[in-house]
């Protein structure tokens, strides 16, 4: 067991409520694979962003008024008259973008290294649930300043639910609280926007609990077998996480202090006017790929189903990709398709930013078709058809100077080259 705490007050508390032991156990008593690269830092960065958003959000909420005649003015009051209000507001608005950036990188890390595969399927599913909750929270939050984009974005997205047969029209009125988007909608959106981050917090707890069960995946994708494959999370990965936080905060600070409205839309600085529709209604950048998918399908219901389907399909990923090899490092064909998927998502995002005219319509439709084909056709096909590279025998072996020679004796030339590549191309 670990040694007792030095401080007598902490010992007294911990004996009655073992919170300190719990934290120490989570950090020091948690062995992690020794070969994690920096793509594994983004989960920590996501947690930091969640905490920053909750903290700044609560501060904003103490100055915000959720009423359609006062919302926009209260936000401007925060910007102009509340001490450092502009800073809290910009941290929160740019924080939403930062949160999605780190979560997207975190997701794509999972896709590349097969972190969604057995036995981590539930960990992955909980992650998709967190992503859905984040999307809902961001959508609700964007309504709150009650600018033109807020109002019309809410109108467009709540209208979509009307496409559902039979219940659609009543559902739209029920969601809005009124026949059209108005004050009632704003008030309830504020309540829900305040609530959901705490739901996210709870699901993050489940996500970490599921992670704890089998530990982290690693860039080689093979299970950590012996104690030599692992190092304690604290202090090694806590230090690495805090270091990466420095770079992340610099990136974040550039936006907050020098380009705070770059990722936003100027129309949201115009107070909402139900009689004037903006020429182009677009969501924030992190929703653009889904917006492109929505607009690619000519039918309204089809578009809605495709848009939700694009997220829903992620739930099934562990069963669509059945290759026994986890990491793309040993799946050379899958690697190509991974990069194509990433490129496809970026193209979808750009298509979503532009009005639905050619050439964007055709490109958007092709990109949407490819997105679904990737998950429904390509991944299952690769599970059967792909010839993966041979895996290293353990995580520890490739790190040793002697280990490489040991491989030369035991394995074929191909195997040694593979392991050499695995060790030397550190950036994978």
């Amino acid at each position: 067991m670990s040694k007792p705490f030095r401080n007598p007050i902490i010992r007294w508390i911990d004996h009655r409520l073992p919170a300190f032991s719990f934290v120490r156990d989570q950090l020091e008593g948690y062995p992690a694979p020794r070969n994690l690269n920096y793509w594994w830092n983004y989960g920590f960065l996501s947690m930091v962003m969640l905490m920053i958003m909750i903290l700044t959000g609560i501060i904003l909420a103490t100055h915000y008024t959720a009423h359609e005649s006062l919302a926009f003015l209260s936000v401007e009051r925060i910007m102009r008259d509340v001490n450092w209000g502009w800073l809290v507001r910009y941290i929160h608005s740019n924080g939403a973008s930062m949160f999605f950036i780190v979560v997207y990188i975190h997701i794509f890390r999972g896709l590349y290294y097969g972190s969604y595969k057995a036995p981590r399927e539930l960990l992955w599913i909980l992650g998709v649930v967190i992503y859905l909750l984040m999307m809902a929270t961001a959508f609700l939050g964007y309504a709150l300043p009650w600018g033109q984009m807020s109002y019309w974005g809410v109108t467009v997205i709540t209208n979509l639910f009307g496409a559902i047969p039979f219940v659609g029209e009543d559902l739209v009125i029920w969601l809005r609280g009124d026949y059209s988007v108005g004050n009632i909608t704003l008030v309830r959106f504020f309540a829900l926007h305040y609530l959901l981050p705490f739901v996210i917090f709870a699901v993050v707890f489940l996500h970490l609990w599921a992670l704890r069960r089998f530990g982290s995946n690693n860039p080689l994708g093979i299970d950590a077998k012996g104690p030599k494959d692992k190092i304690p999370f604290h202090p090694y990965y806590t230090m690495k996480d805090i270091y990466s936080l420095g770079w992340f905060f610099i990136f974040y600070a550039v936006f907050v202090f020098f380009a705070p409205n770059l990722l936003g839309h100027p129309d949201n600085y115009v107070p909402a006017d139900r009689l004037v529709t903006p020429p182009h209604i677009v969501p924030e950048w992190y929703f653009l790929p889904f917006y492109a998918i929505l607009r690619s399908i000519p039918s309204e219901l089809g578009g809605v189903l495709a848009m939700f389907g694009a997220v829903a399909i992620l739930f099934f990923l562990p069963w669509l990709d059945r290759s026994p090899v986890r990491s793309a490092r040993f799946r050379p064909v899958y690697q190509w398709f991974f990069w194509v998927l990433l490129g496809d998502c970026i193209v979808l995002g750009i298509v979503g930013a532009y009005p639905p005219v050619d050439p964007f319509v055709t490109i958007g439709q092709l990109a949407t078709a490819y997105y679904f084909a990737h998950f429904l056709i390509i991944l299952p096909a690769l599970s059967v058809l792909e010839q993966p590279l041979p895996l290293p025998t353990s995580i520890y072996q490739p790190v040793l100077p002697k280990g490489r020679e040991r491989f030369a004796e035991e394995g074929s030339l191909t195997q040694r080259e593979t392991v050499q590549d695995a060790v030397q191309t550190k950036s994978h």
């Binding site: 910007m79 502009w86 230090m239 690495k240 600070a253 115009v270 194509v340 990433l342 490129g343 532009y354």
Partner: protein
């Protein structure tokens, strides 16, 4: 290096597709004309770079242009008179400026509405009591409040400058949708704008004797309006510089600590 070939090839191909699509679209838009596609230069206002500050003299001249020309139709209802101390007015000058305007007071003992002179704590008084009055006085178009105009338009202060200096004679074949409209190819919602050219040479006599040409007045009022929309800009830049310098040093120290800690992990001895 060979590990980078796949992502570079694939993402490069996609970058090519995006480049093709965006340039095709932009050319089509420019060919169709109108909708603010006229190019204008990025003037590089002094406050636009990362060390940027406002030029107080330009802000004061811009305030004069706003007060004497624009305030006839455009409100500035998020700015308070007391904010004028930030551009160089003294507290007494601000009180005098504010007192020139009558704003609604509370009901009197009989319940009748009263008016009182404005205080520095009051916001700028709008020229019209409501949107309907604004529309009626301006041929159906509502002159927008200018408090956030540089944040509410793509292009910011550069756009305002381009708009104010951009009025021209319409091309021979162009017909306005309505006869009272004016031709300005920089206007974001199409070349026809309800606002007539607001500035003329010498519209304003500057207190500091700068010559009041249209470009000068446009530059000054664009600077002033940027301040009205972003009064925190100088503090924001200063704080940002300090924050990033601090973070750079801190990150350097964290890196050194991380490397020292990880030495044994990177070089296992058995």
């Amino acid at each position: 290096m060979n590990g980078y070939i796949k992502p570079v090839l694939v993402l490069g191909a996609f970058a090519g597709i995006i480049y093709y699509a965006v340039t095709t679209y932009t050319h089509e838009q420019a060919a169709a004309g109108g909708h603010g596609t006229a190019r204008y230069e990025n003037l590089k206002f002094p406050f636009q770079n990362i060390f940027g500050t406002y030029d107080r003299a330009a802000l004061q001249r811009g305030y004069q242009v706003y007060q004497e020309v624009c305030a006839a139709c455009h409100g500035l209802n998020l700015v308070a008179y007391r904010n004028l101390t930030e551009i160089g007015f003294t507290a007494d000058q601000v009180k005098a400026v504010a007192a020139q305007y009558q704003v609604p007071g509370g009901p009197d003992a009989n319940g009748d509405l009263t008016e009182r002179p404005a205080l520095p704590s009051d916001r700028f008084k709008s020229p019209y009591p409501n949107a309907e009055a604004a529309k009626a006085a301006n041929g159906g178009a509502v002159p927008p409040d200018l408090s956030l105009i540089t944040k509410a338009r793509a292009g910011g202060a550069d756009y305002i400058y381009a708009l104010l200096t951009g009025y021209e004679e319409p091309p021979a074949d162009a017909t306005p949708p309505s006869p009272t409209l004016n031709y300005n190819p920089h206007f974001q919602k199409g070349p026809w704008i309800a606002m007539p050219p607001p500035l003329a040479e010498g519209s304003v006599t500057y207190a500091d004797n700068t010559s009041a040409t249209i470009p000068q007045m446009s530059y000054d009022v664009a600077s002033f309006l940027n301040w009205a929309a972003e009064p925190e800009l100088e503090t924001r830049h200063r704080t940002g510089l300090k924050a990033i310098l601090f973070l750079l040093v801190l990150t350097g120290i964290m890196y050194a600590a991380k490397r020292k800690l990880w030495v044994k992990v990177h070089n296992p001895q058995d």
